[in-house]
């Protein structure tokens, strides 16, 4: 194949890839504005489905649950994961440094296995101790467990990329242990913490499998609602929810990109 034809082929491949990635999303967005109840024929523009969405108490409750779950679990996961990432860095040369590999396991474990395991575990505890009934609480714990590794790995990677003598420079320049945390460690880790916050947030909003297995009757989230609603067929209402979720994720991605850009320009 000549060089020119290879280039043409790769360009075509690129457009095909983009098509398969974004066309389905586009379809969902377009049909969410459909004026009739159809996902096959577009009859005209309307915001009816959005109005019905916001009037639907079940959906609003699911939205609220999703938001609470995502925010609370992300905040907890960032704190725990951040400390873990630092701990792994600090003791990376110690005898227990191999423990860091355990943190990878939940990342590569299939969600379904993880979800079933969490469910069984919570049910057992509930039977023995009467606590941890399925609900938002168990979901938060489950989400934190799969968010923590991502946070820990991001923070750890950032620390590993730093010149180790920076820690000594901070000590040498009169910083007490607390000052080292507030004036050196946290500001240095801020990009990694922000990135892991946004990643954990999207992971939580996105999650269906693990939520499904750990949810209670009152703690339906948007993905779970969509799944149960969809069995009655895809309505433009579902398309509207999906469109809102796409917009949210898009917004978060833009935020993290902007954050990255600002960091780079302020560094320079």
């Amino acid at each position: 194949m000549s060089r020119g034809r290879l280039t043409a082929f790769l360009r075509g491949f690129w457009y095909a890839l983009m098509l398969f990635l974004y066309a389905p999303l586009l379809v969902v967005v377009v049909f969410s504005f459909n004026s009739i109840n159809s996902s096959a024929r577009f009859a005209g523009f309307s915001l009816d489905w959005y109005k019905r969405l916001f009037a639907n108490d079940v959906i609003m409750q699911a939205l609220w649950n999703t938001a609470v779950l995502a925010t609370v679990s992300t905040l907890i996961a960032v704190v725990i994961g951040g400390m873990l990432g630092y701990g792994f860095y600090r003791y990376r040369l110690g005898r227990l440094s191999w423990l860091v590999w355990l943190i990878y396991l939940p990342v590569i474990m299939p969600d379904i296995v993880f979800g079933i395991a969490e469910m069984t575990f919570f049910v057992l505890i509930n039977q023995w101790l009467g606590i941890l009934a399925p609900g938002l609480g168990t979901m938060i714990i489950a989400h934190v467990t799969f968010q923590v590794p991502f946070v820990a790995l991001l923070v750890n990677a950032r620390l590993l990329a730093l010149d180790p003598s920076l820690f000594e420079a901070a000590q040498d320049l009169y910083a007490s242990p607390w000052q080292r945390l507030s004036a050196f460690l946290l500001p240095t880790l801020r990009p990694a913490i922000a990135a892991s916050f946004l990643l954990a947030l999207t992971l939580s909003i996105d999650d269906f499998v693990i939520s499904f297995f750990t949810a209670g009757p009152e703690s339906t989230t948007l993905p779970i609602y969509i799944w149960s609603a969809i069995r009655k067929g895809v309505t433009p209402e579902i398309n509207a929810i999906a469109t809102l979720m796409i917009a949210t994720v898009f917004l978060i991605a833009m935020l993290s990109m902007l954050g990255g850009r600002r960091r780079r320009t302020s560094d320079t």
Partner: protein, 364 residues
């Protein structure tokens, strides 16, 4: 640093002495970074630790800064024992080998880090930063990010960040190694001037013997974690304690002494009469060898040699010679006259006054 800098105010501060007493540091049973090192550094002294890579220079600086603890031995700074004193409570600052500038802070914020941690007033902080930046010649760079600086500029920021705290002791870990020859030479003079002006105790680390000689009041030569010799640059260069120090200081003419008696010594290139000390080697520094062409009138006691190679070094030419099959190096100032060429036979006059007898490595 080319612009004239306003003088830093002389402070009524007593620079600190440093006492290092039988200090050892082992990282593993077979990795002894420092082995029973004892030395005293005077207040306000420019003291240099010199030695090859891995000889323990950085390790000793880290012990002084408190970033590492000795396995045995005591360290005193300003007469006070440093045992159990953490780095942030020592009036000691370090210019790190890797600079260690904080990436999330720009130049000004890097320099002010130590002052912030000591909770100085905002007015005092900006006064000190302006003064130090002008002194080091980085006043134009204060608002730059760290990744916008050249190696030499980073170097100076690291220096300013340490100096601005006006510590009793400044530790400098090969601070000039990343610079080109011109800048390096200028900064050597500048650092020396700065140290005199501030009256601070400087402990300077380098593996460059010329740099050590130019800058230091005294030099300690380290070899495999042991103190090989301590003394003024002149003493170390002219009277090296042993073979290691001599070779490290750039000496090449080391002649093993085959026999010595009351009237002289015997070496591979001949016998030298005189009263020599006991030792394993006769050291002939370049200035002890005077090169004569064969057609010049012969001085007494000359030995003959063949020129193998001539290395032009600007102000002088270095001649690599063979003398009774033994390699020797001599120099001749370039004064416009053609010197000997490769293959020529020459006469060497040995000035035994300038020679020294030294011990084998490790016996010193």
């Amino acid at each position: 640093m080319s612009e004239p800098a306003p003088p830093m105010q002389q402070r009524a501060r007593s620079a600190s002495s440093i006492g290092i007493d039988q200090v050892s540091r082992r990282f593993a049973a077979d990795a002894v970074a420092l082995d029973d090192v004892s030395l005293d550094i005077q207040p306000g002294e420019f003291f240099t630790l010199l030695g090859p890579s891995g000889c323990g220079k950085t390790t000793l600086l880290r012990l002084l800064a408190g970033l590492d603890q000795p396995d045995s031995g005591l360290i005193h700074i300003g007469g006070r024992s440093m045992q159990g004193v953490p780095p942030h409570r020592r009036s000691v600052n370090t210019v790190f080998q890797s600079y260690a500038l904080f990436p999330h802070r720009n130049v000004r914020e890097n320099i002010r880090f130590g002052l912030e941690m000591q909770r100085l007033s905002a007015a005092e902080i900006s006064r000190r930063i302006e003064r130090t930046a002008a002194l080091i010649g980085i006043d134009k760079l204060l608002e730059r990010g760290i990744d916008q600086l050249s190696g030499g500029q980073r170097q100076r920021v690291a220096l300013a960040r340490a100096l601005v705290n006006e510590p009793d002791v400044l530790l400098l870990d090969e601070p000039l190694s990343a610079l080109d020859a011109g800048l390096r030479g200028r900064l050597q003079i500048e650092l020396r001037r700065l140290q005199r002006q501030l009256g601070m105790t400087f402990v300077f680390v380098t593996h460059d013997q010329e740099e050590a000689m130019v800058m230091s009041d005294r030099i300690a030569v380290l070899n495999h974690g042991r103190l090989a010799q301590i003394g003024t640059p002149q003493a170390i260069y002219e009277k090296p304690a042993d073979e290691f120090v001599a070779r490290f200081m750039g000496h090449e003419n080391l002649l093993p002494i085959k026999k010595s008696d009351a009237t002289g010594i015997e070496t591979p290139i001949g016998r030298f009469s005189g009263d020599f000390a006991e030792g394993a080697y006769l050291l002939l520094p370049p200035q002890s060898l005077i090169l004569h062409r064969l057609d010049q009138p012969a001085a007494p006691d000359c030995i003959e040699a063949v020129v193998d190679e001539c290395l032009y070094r600007g102000g002088m030419t270095e001649y690599r010679l063979s003398c009774s099959d033994w390699p020797l190096v001599a120099t001749l100032a370039n004064q416009g006259r053609p010197g000997p060429a490769a293959g020529d036979r020459v006469r060497l006059e040995v000035v035994t006054r300038a020679a020294a007898v030294l011990q084998a490595e490790g016996d010193g």
